[in-house]
Symmetry: C2
Subunit: 128 residues, 2 copies
């Protein structure tokens, strides 16, 4: 009971994504494959990216929600995102700047800042 058939295009999209170290947009994939598949449509790229994501072959980089959220707490803080109810909660945890040191020691990047999101189940959803 396979849900999806084999598709050359889908395999190729996965290949392309694996070859590049970057984290491209659908558009970039489309441009990259347009020469190879002159009749390629952007819709098919989106469809296949979504199937590959569902299959766990690739990941979408985002916060889960597709639209903008705003936060009146402008001091630096980490976020907890409840996987059940979707709410985002500010954490009182102190900011750990040593994490940035770890990056600076192991790479040639200059890190200035970082954000953390924790995922799990919030208090309200554990004890309703």
């Amino acid at each position: 009971m396979e849900k999806y058939r084999r598709s050359k295009l889908r395999n190729r999209i996965l290949e392309i994504l694996r070859e590049t170290g970057s984290h491209p947009h659908a558009d970039w994939v489309y441009d990259k494959l347009k020469k190879e598949y002159p009749r390629l449509s952007l819709g098919s790229v989106y469809r296949n990216l979504s199937i590959l994501t569902e299959q766990g072959m690739i990941r979408k980089i985002d916060f889960g929600s597709s639209f903008d959220r705003f936060d009146a707490n402008t001091t630096d803080h980490y976020h907890f995102i409840c996987e059940n109810c979707g709410s985002i909660i500010d954490l009182k945890l102190p900011i750990d700047k040593t994490l940035e040191d770890r990056v600076n020691q192991r790479t040639n990047f200059k890190t200035k800042n970082h954000k953390i999101q924790f995922y799990g189940i919030c208090e309200n959803c554990i004890n309703p």
Copy 2:
């Protein structure tokens, strides 16, 4: 040389955002204020949220880029985001599960996972 005048609506939006601990969408703010301002338009909400963000009174919670990005590396890893060229780079840094312990100790949440994004300047942009 003030850039913006005082606006009752904008003050009210800021108030609403400060009152709630959550991190609402524009839509939620709109619904919340619709009774108070029956002629309110969603456009004005967006405009004011954007002004408040520019003024540093509130923050937008996002990755900076407005469209979806995909990652063929499905093993857990942290990301480095270059503030100059915008590229997102996978880090080889080990995942630090003790961070989740810190959350679990101080809250009643059950944390299962976390993501980190580091922001700064990448190697290529430091030495072009």
